[in-house]
Amino acid sequence: MGELVKRNHWVVRLTHWVNVVAIVLMAGSGMRIFNAHPAFARPGERFPLNPWEGRPIPAWLTFGSWLGGARHWHFAAMWLLVANAVVYVGFLALHGEWRDVTPRRGDARDTLEMLRFYLFRRKDHPRQGKHNALQRATYFAMPVLGLILVLSGLAIWKPVTLGFITALFVNYKWARVVHFTAMALLIVLSLVHVFMVLSVDPWSLRSMVSGWYDPTRSPEARNARPFLHLFARGRPDADASPEQAAP
């Protein structure tokens, strides 16, 4: 086996799992709140943009059991979500690790190459650093969606007292639309993230718990596509052991 490297700082690991709890609580209770009036139209109006207007979300996906209870959970867990996000973003900013999760020059091409690789249009895994371009786009989009969720959430929570935030989303009704849509996108990205972790790089789970990562197990080293080469080993990738020169 290869030499283990410390991949994720404890602050990143901690905030990652706190975030899982916070997002599950927020999305679950938010969907329960939504189910009290599962529509975006005002009374007497129509909202053709939503094909499921008036149809509630399945109860088993929701959390909080009733409107008042779900609201209490939502308005409590929001502080966990925000405090956790502040610690995470602050840490990334201070440690320079934001570079690993922000778009960079050439990402459009690298994204295309990753997609070509996953679609078997290309044989070898594209060179990458800590994350590939698809991951970087996802890990960047998630906090951006989080910011949109917090702003649109404030717009709905305090449409009069914080009316200037509501105005950013046109009005209360559209703030609800944005809040719901951003939540749905975040959930989809999270599910894709979990799928890719389990099917492409389950070894990274360890690096998100203990922090340790085996560079010979990196997707690049294994030339790993979903469910393929799961247990292979390879040459550690350039980023994981920077002292080793690329051949």
Binding site: M1, R42, H72, F75, K158, V160, Y172, R176, R206, S210
Partner: protein, 236 residues
């Protein structure tokens, strides 16, 4: 190494599942305590954010909700003031005040009136728009002179004992009315006739309909929905 990995997987699976269990299956009492604590802290934040010059604006061209404006009450039937049995309807403004008054509808209508087109925010998530005509609660306060210890106001009606108490600041907001008119007509029985509280600064359930008493108080006394577990503050 493989032992190491196995141990790692066991430990992480165990800690993950206990975290999930803690979240889903939390001891209701400790969860309730935590949520009550969060609500208390949130009230502090909400009161700190609250401003009298933060107003609700509905564009002049925006459509009124009109007949689609939901009607609701907690009695079995639409509450109607039975003047034959109970005498003429009166609004009592009392409590921790220097000069309690009892107003007939005519008295109320003689006070300086405000007409405003505002949002109505329901706790369920929808909002509706109407033009309300009435007297500012701050105008009533000017009449009765609350004593300095009056930090809360209770709005009670004749709908099966429905009431909701407010913080004084929200009650004194310029858009908080005791409304007797809606969309240019007198308030209808489905919307709280003869008078009701209406304000965009509180969720619908805080806006007591079929109003009979406005009581200034040194302490808050919950409310119909508040006592059933909805947030007491319910501010927007």
């Amino acid at each position: 190494m493989s032992i190491d990995r196995r141990r790692f997987l066991t430990v992480s699976a165990a800690s993950l599942s206990s975290a999930v269990l803690a979240a889903c299956n939390a001891n209701p009492r400790s969860a309730a305590k935590l949520l009550a604590f969060a609500e208390r802290r949130n009230i502090g934040v909400e009161e700190a954010l609250f401003r009298h010059d933060a107003m609700n604006h509905v564009p002049a061209a925006a459509a009124l909700t009109g007949n689609a404006f939901p009607k609701y009450f907690v009695s079995k039937h639409v509450p109607m003031w039975d003047a034959a049995q109970r005498g003429a309807w009166r609004l009592e403004v009392s409590g921790a005040v220097r000069n309690p008054v009892t107003l007939t509808l005519e008295d109320l209508q003689r006070l300086p009136a405000v007409t405003q087109k505002v949002d109505h925010f329901c706790v369920e998530g929808w909002n509706a728009r109407a033009t309300w005509t009435g007297v500012r609660v701050s105008e009533l306060a000017r009449l009765v002179q609350p004593t300095p210890d009056a930090g809360y106001v209770d709005f009670a009606g004749f709908d099966e004992g429905y009431h909701e108490s407010w913080d004084l600041e929200s009650a004194m907001h310029p858009q908080t009315l005791v409304a007797y008119g809606m969309d240019g007509r007198l308030l209808g029985p489905g919307h709280g006739a003869p008078a009701r509280v209406h304000s965009p600064v509180k969720l619908g359930y805080k806006n007591t309909k079929y109003l009979t008493r406005v009581v200034f108080m040194p302490r808050r006394n919950g409310g119909y929905w508040t006592d059933q577990g909805y947030e007491w503050y319910g501010g927007t």
